[in-house]
Each structure stands twice: as structure tokens, then as C-alpha cells.
């Protein structure tokens, strides 16, 4: 049953986080596309909280964290999926829309930067792997 994964847990987490950020970017693009659509309600992606909860719970040795400062175990982190939520509780304009163009642009930029950071981390992870394989440094 050994899951042969060269990149290990880090690679798996980075992969899933990249997927989540990509989805989030798409959702934000959709929000911005509908910035002038009457009664449109903005959507968002929730992922980090689910992932954190999952990593907290999944200890391979069956231990649970009972305090926030305990070290977490070796959670394998498979399962938590990004969820799309619609913000129906707020209204920003007279026509019922709640897309704030500034807020959405900031969030979009943040998503893009996070994506690039994650991609960079994955690149470095692969570089480490390559160093190990080729027995050279750099």
C-alpha cells in the first residue's frame, strides 16, 4: 500500500495548496467579471481552515493535540478539499451586488502572489530532490 511519492508530504501539501489557489483565482476572476452585474453575490474559496483542522486531527500514531502549542503529528493531509462559498449576507450597492472592486483586486493580487510563492517552494523542493539524485550541490 506504500504510496510511492517522491515529493513526500510537503509535495502533496504544496500540490493541493496550488490547486486551491488556482481555484480561488478563478473564483475571484468570476467576481470581477460580474462587477457590474445587478444582484450578483461574490463567491470565495475556503481551504486553509479545513486543511489546518485536518492536519490537526490526523495523527498517524493516534495522538490528538489538546493544546494549540503542542507539536502536530505526521498528518498526511489528504482529504480536505477547497469549498466554494457565496457571501449572501452583505450588500454593497443599491442593485444588490456585493462585489467591491478594490477589495476584489487586493484579494486577487494576494492570491496570485500566494500561488507564485507556492510554485517557488515546489520548485525548490524539486531542486533538493535533484541535488540528492545527482550528488552535486547547486
Amino acid at each position: 500500500m506504500a504510496d510511492f511519492n517522491l515529493l513526500g508530504k510537503t509535495g502533496d501539501l504544496l500540490h493541493r495548496a496550488l490547486d486551491a489557489e488556482s481555484l480561488r483565482f478563478q473564483v475571484r476572476a468570476h467576481n470581477l467579471a460580474n462587477v457590474n452585474t445587478p444582484a450578483y453575490k461574490r463567491q470565495d474559496v475556503e481551504f486553509e481552515a479545513y486543511l489546518a483542522a485536518e492536519l490537526d486531527q490526523r495523527d498517524t500514531n493516534g495522538l490528538r493535540r489538546t493544546h494549540a502549542r503542542h507539536l502536530s503529528g505526521e498528518g498526511n493531509g489528504s482529504g480536505a478539499a477547497p469549498r466554494i462559498v457565496t457571501d449572501r449576507h452583505t450588500t454593497m450597492r443599491v442593485d444588490g451586488s456585493n462585489v467591491d472592486i478594490e477589495q476584489e483586486m487586493v484579494a486577487l493580487t494576494e492570491t496570485a502572489v500566494r500561488y507564485q510563492v507556492l510554485a517557488e517552494q515546489l520548485t525548490r523542493k524539486l531542486r533538493q530532490l535533484r541535488t540528492v539524485i545527482s550528488e552535486r550541490v547547486g
Binding site: 481555484l23 467579471a33 460580474n34 462587477v35 457590474n36 466554494i84 520548485t123
Partner: protein
């Protein structure tokens, strides 16, 4: 693929906002047109947008697919009346029926359309940078 889907989402918004800009330009150009083919003065036109959704849910379950224009509607409010008996289109009482185009409203709409267009251009550029970054994975 999701990068191209993002581009299509923003592309649909560019089309919609440009159409909005076209109707605004048309409204402003006809702000003083007292005759139309249908008779009567020009009526202000406005596009109506609606969020578009994908029918088959490929990808990670996100159904959003940008924006679409459901149609261009005429503003039915009456236009302004100007007393000018010499005008060829004046009615029996000497009043000319002018279009219901309000220049200020059109200018505000124009700024809104322009800013929305810019925002979507930014999304496209950002999506492209992300795609390029994704291509660099494993290259280091």
C-alpha cells in the same frame, strides 16, 4: 484547463464591458437626436448583465463562467421637453421631445465600465503570470 478558463471568464467581462461602453457612446452621440427610424426621439439604451454558469461541471466543481449580456433594453422614461416652435420636430404646442439621455449618468456609467474593463485586464495579466510561474516548476 483552469488557466484558460480564467482567461475566458475575464474575456467575457471584457466583451460585456466593451458593449456597455458602446451603448454609452451611442447614447451620448444621440443625446440630441429627435428622430429615429421607429419614430419619436432617441431612447436611452442600456445593456443588462447576468452571471453565466457552466452547465457541465468540469474542473473542481466551480460553475462560474463569467458574465453575459442578456440584452439591450430601452429606458422608457420620458425625455426632456424644450419649447422651440421653429424646430421641424416640434409638436402642435411648439415643444420638441428630446431624448431621455442624461449626460452625467452616462459619464458615471462610462467611468464604471472603464474601471471594470481595467480590472479584468489586470486579472488576465495576473493569470498569465501565474501560468508562467507554474511552467517554471521543476525547471530550477
Amino acid at each position: 484547463m483552469s488557466v484558460f478558463h480564467t482567461l475566458r471568464i475575464s474575456g467575457s467581462a471584457l466583451t460585456a464591458e466593451r458593449l456597455r461602453m458602446d451603448t454609452i457612446a451611442n447614447n451620448l452621440a444621440n443625446a440630441n437626436s429627435t428622430r429615429t427610424e421607429a419614430g419619436g426621439p432617441y431612447q436611452r439604451q442600456m445593456p443588462v448583465f447576468a452571471a453565466r454558469t457552466r452547465q457541465q461541471g468540469s474542473g473542481q466543481g466551480f460553475k462560474g463562467a463569467g458574465v453575459r449580456v442578456t440584452g439591450i433594453y430601452q429606458d422608457p422614461t420620458p425625455g426632456r421637453l424644450v419649447y422651440d416652435p421653429e424646430h421641424p420636430d416640434a409638436d402642435q404646442d411648439g415643444y420638441v421631445h428630446y431624448p431621455n439621455v442624461n449626460i452625467v449618468t452616462e459619464m458615471v456609467d462610462m467611468i464604471s465600465a472603464s474601471r471594470a474593463y481595467e480590472a479584468n485586464i489586470t486579472v488576465i495579466n495576473s493569470a498569465r503570470n501565474m501560468a508562467v510561474k507554474a511552467l517554471e516548476i521543476g525547471r530550477g
